[in-house]
């Protein structure tokens, strides 16, 4: 069960283009499973930024001199992450977690290919640890636009049988994208399962490649979230259920980890006409009340 804690920042440091912040977060650290995330309240009170920011859990240390700690890796993209990057040791921040469904682990030792895009690499490390504890073989692919946006290559090398790195600009590793090297890695390793975390188009590509190769694939998606705890319905995407019915499901509580082939990547940003509760009628809604044309594209 997720908890809300106010914890002290232990350290906040740079790692390439990213920041790593570790926070004392007893209750979260002990419960966290690979693929889950935390949300952080941002801005000094009275803050103008109401929605919490979500970050995948990178490292947890359930016990320690300060109690359990949680570490996340993040890129500064707007005011909230800029605020977080400016936190100093001893500053207190408000965390909620662990949230969401974690990656499922194979029951038997298996060969696992882990694919991370940019900071999407973060949740793969606790995942790799859990997989190794189950005797799995791990092969890692990390990709980013540029070298400084690769995260954790050294650590990945240490814990994997093979590490393949791609950068779009070719500054390090293979020039290109993770999807360019994935087919090769899948066949070379004889992968049993693929885990991926990264931007939506990457997850779409990875899912397609894995499906073509007949390898099951789990993806951790990233959708805009207003609440992170399942009460607001902002974070939905079309996912096919066990019953074959597409529903607009909440990525915060029903995800962020999904079986890739269940996610209707091509329909993200739409409500497919065959989705549960979709109406063919003109979209009836709570707010549009103008006679003026309001169509989006």
């Amino acid at each position: 069960m997720p908890v809300q804690v106010r914890g002290e920042v232990l350290a906040n440091r740079r790692a390439g283009a990213y920041h790593l912040v570790s926070v004392v977060a007893p209750g979260i650290a002990e419960q966290a499973k690979p693929g889950q995330f935390v949300t952080v309240a941002v801005g000094d009170e009275p803050t103008s930024m109401l929605t919490r920011r979500a970050f995948s859990i990178y490292q947890v240390r359930p016990r320690g001199v300060f109690g359990g700690t949680v570490e996340v890796v993040f890129a500064v993209v707007g005011a909230g992450t800029a605020w977080l990057a400016a936190r100093q040791p001893h500053d207190v921040i408000d965390l909620v977690g662990p949230l969401g469904r974690p990656f499922s682990l194979p029951k038997q030792p298996a060969t696992c290919v882990l694919v991370g895009g940019g900071y999407g690499a973060a949740p793969l490390f606790p995942l790799a640890e859990a997989l190794r504890a189950r005797g799995c073989r791990i092969d890692v692919i990390l990709g980013a636009a540029t070298e400084d946006r690769l995260f954790g290559t050294l650590e990945a090398k240490r814990m994997s049988a093979t590490l393949t790195v791609t950068t779009v600009d070719g500054s390090v590793g293979v020039r290109g994208m993770v999807s360019d090297v994935l087919p090769e890695v899948l066949s070379a390793t004889g992968a049993d399962v693929v885990y991926a975390c990264g931007p939506m188009p990457m997850l779409r590509a990875v899912t397609a490649i894995a499906a073509a190769a007949g390898v099951p694939c789990q993806v951790a998606v990233e959708e805009q979230m207003a609440c992170g705890i399942g009460v607001c319905m902002t974070c939905v995407l079309p996912v096919i259920g066990d019953d074959g019915v597409t529903r607009m499901v909440r990525s915060c509580v029903d995800g962020p980890v999904f079986y890739g082939e269940r996610v209707r990547f091509d329909d993200i940003g739409t409500v497919p006409a065959d989705a549960w509760g979709a109406s063919d009628a003109a979209p009836v809604d709570t707010w549009p009340r103008t006679a003026a044309p309001m169509g989006r594209r």
């Binding site: 997720p2 109401l50 607001c232 902002t234």
Partner: protein, 351 residues
């Protein structure tokens, strides 16, 4: 005084030590025929049907859980993106995604009953008939203590005109719901602030049979994404909520309470703290709903309830009912406070 409040921002300064013992304030409040143990509820659409919030708040200790507006049929809502953060606000366009009344009655209400919560069920329709059908379906369902009629919906039978924007359409809905609903269950009309004269809409709803009013729904807003150069929400416009709209919400409660002093009001819009809740009570609300703040702080409803109790105790009030509408009347307590805050006690309080 234990809470050093900023009267201007409504924020308690966190540094101030909190009173630890629970102050002995009678928090019960009356919404028409219903008595709630305290005035703090969740706002519709901001706490789903209570279950997820239950991880952070004991829902039985809230005044009530106001559930997400439910419609007759399941509904997928709008495409994403469905939100944009705005300064001290949130713009959302969910499109009333929900499971429909059957699943709601089967899975959601029972959970609330089992957990000792009181439910105020919000209903939404696209025709007068749909509203009435929902009210009828909810007859006798436990633990429903009131209905909230979300009339900020387009009327498909009248060129998509929003019910809440037209006193006649609003009163048609309320009359039908009052007729169809369990007579013992009070019916609240939830109004939109996006009208020239909210008192006129309120008066029409009450005349049609509404037992109370919920004020306010979101303001119609729009955010343009300066990277995509397009509206940030798939639905173009959305509903603006959060502290940004609080002065508008308090104004609506004030105006409606001034015009209809005997009609119970559930006030909402940007409540983040006990002092914010107090503003709504002083303006004339008998209860309040906490919405967007739940996204910022999932334990907010319980915290706000406690802060409100503290704030009342600190001001020498023994009962919630003592402050309802008090700002309209002034009176001795107010006068005392006045001189303090203005520094009329000379070298007092602040120096």
């Amino acid at each position: 005084m234990t809470t050093t409040g900023s009267p201007h921002t409504g924020f308690a300064v966190r540094a101030t030590p909190r009173r630890t013992a629970a102050p002995a304030v009678d928090l019960t409040t009356q919404l028409g025929s219903v008595v709630l143990p305290n005035p703090v509820t969740t706002a519709s659409g901001c706490a789903a049907a209570g279950r997820e919030l239950g991880q952070f708040v004991d829902v039985s200790t809230l005044g009530a859980v106001v559930t997400k507006s439910i419609m007759l049929a399941p509904r997928a809502g709008r495409p994403t993106p469905r939100m944009a953060e705005t300064p001290s606000g949130l713009l959302n366009g969910i499109g009333l995604q929900g499971p429909g009344i059957d699943e709601f009655l089967e899975h959601d209400l029972p959970w609330l009953a089992e957990h000792g919560a009181r439910a105020i069920v919000s209903i939404a329709g696209s025709s007068v008939g749909e509203y009435a059908a929902l009210a009828a379906r909810l007859r006798g369902a436990a633990p429903v203590v009131a209905l909230e009629v979300n009339i900020s919906c387009p009327n498909v039978e009248d060129r998509g005109q929003v019910f809440a924007c037209d006193p006649r359409a609003a009163s048609a809905v309320l009359a039908a719901v009052r007729e169809a609903a369990d007579p013992a269950v009070p019916v609240f009309a939830k109004l939109s602030p996006d009208v020239t004269d909210i008192v006129a809409v309120a008066t029409a709803c009450v005349a049609a049979g509404a037992d109370g009013l919920s004020l306010i729904n979101t303001l119609l807003g729009l955010v343009i994404d300066t990277e995509t150069l397009r509206p940030a929400l798939s639905g173009v416009t959305g509903g603006l909520s959060g502290p940004a709209i609080r002065p508008v919400a308090v104004r609506c409660v004030w105006q409606v309470h001034a015009a209809l002093p005997d009609v119970p009001i559930i006030g909402m819009g940007g409540i983040r703290s006990g002092l914010d809740a107090l503003q709504f009570l002083l303006a004339g609300a008998c209860a309040v709903s906490v919405g967007t703040e739940i996204f910022h702080d999932p334990s907010a409803p319980a915290r706000i309830r406690d802060e409100l109790a503290e704030a009342l105790a600190a001001r020498g009030f023994q009962r919630v009912s003592d402050v309802i509408g008090l700002a309209h009347r002034g009176g001795s307590v107010a006068e005392g406070g006045d001189s303090l805050a203005r520094g009329d006690d000379f070298l007092g309080a602040r120096r």
